[in-house]
């Protein structure tokens, strides 16, 4: 059975490859689109590019729908496809985001609380997220962007809750190092 990280409940998708028809694809899109789009936005911090990438990702998902294992999470699968499309798009554009090229996050004079960042700081954080491993990115996305509890993140990724906590810990530690080295916060 395919499980989906969704904000609303819905019927399970039939997962046998032979049944992955238009209706299956429509349901897949309906239930995973928001996440895929936001994931692409997180990785590119560019809504327009994210649209192009997500369109490409769903086309790839349609063409390679037989590669989704029946016992796998469709959300995790779509996120992987989306990430691959992001990588391909970055390669095409040869615009790999480099932390050195992102605007100076300290260059903001207005007073903000620590939890309320400037646009430059947000951009910097998103650029730092791009430096994480694919698995760390998925955990950060499902945990913070989709705001799923760690048990559900574990189910989506096929990992144990303890493993997800460890990945999350390593991801935040890595981000902390990246931000410290750039003198952010």
């Amino acid at each position: 059975m395919v499980s989906l990280a969704v904000q609303r409940p819905g019927p399970q998708l039939s997962a046998t490859p032979e049944l992955r028809d238009n209706a299956w694809f429509s349901e897949l899109y309906e239930r995973t689109f928001d996440g895929a789009y936001r994931y692409a936005c997180m990785l590119t911090h560019d809504p327009d590019r994210a649209e192009d990438i997500v369109a490409d990702a769903y086309l790839r998902a349609w063409r390679h729908r037989s590669s989704l294992r029946a016992d796998s999470s469709a959300t995790s699968w779509i996120l992987s496809v989306t990430r691959n499309c992001v990588i391909d798009e970055i390669r095409k554009r040869k615009t790999l985001v480099n932390l050195d090229n992102v605007g100076d996050p300290e260059d903001q004079s207005d007073e903000k609380s620590p939890a309320e960042l400037t646009d430059a700081q947000r951009q910097f954080i998103q650029a730092a997220i791009q430096q994480l491993t694919p698995e760390q990115q998925r955990v950060v996305f499902l945990r913070f962007y989709q705001q799923l509890p760690h048990e559900q993140v574990a189910r989506e990724l096929g990992r144990t809750p303890n493993a997800v906590r460890a990945i999350q810990f390593r991801a935040l530690s890595q981000l902390r190092k990246l931000l410290e080295s750039a003198n952010v916060q």
Binding site: N22, D34, R38, R122, F144, N162
Partner: protein
């Protein structure tokens, strides 16, 4: 000194509290020096997530049209032409076409061989 499993668990609990709008500082006792910098990062990520764009209904529909125009719609168009009599690949293709259109034999009866015969149609 901390256990490798204790800090990740406490961090997770603090993140849960943060997302619920509760004060996570109350949960930090023994590993304050390690958790507070990480929670500062967590706050930053969550702030970024809350400001991340969300697709509206219009965007969702626009994207759907764009996707199906190049994917399933092309498949449906091809399948329809096959059912309409342009069955140039033979009976197996017709069975596949009927199955994909939801008529005739159910999809389970379509052989893998039949699907493999039409990679262009499916891709």
């Amino acid at each position: 000194m901390f256990s490798d499993s204790v800090v990740p668990r406490e961090l997770d609990e603090c993140i849960d509290a943060l997302m619920s709008g509760n004060d996570w500082h109350e949960l930090v006792v023994d590993n304050k020096a390690q958790l507070e910098p990480l929670m500062a990062v967590a706050e930053s990520i969550l702030d970024g997530a809350r400001h991340a764009p969300r697709p509206g209904t219009h965007g969702r529909l626009r994207m759907w049209k764009r996707v199906i125009a190049q994917g399933p719609a092309r498949l449906l168009e091809s399948v329809t032409s096959l059912v309409a009599g342009e069955d140039y690949l033979g009976g197996a293709m017709a069975r596949l076409a009927r199955a994909l259109l939801g008529c005739g034999r159910p999809p389970q009866t379509v052989s893998r061989r039949a699907i493999n015969q039409c990679p262009d149609l499916l891709c």
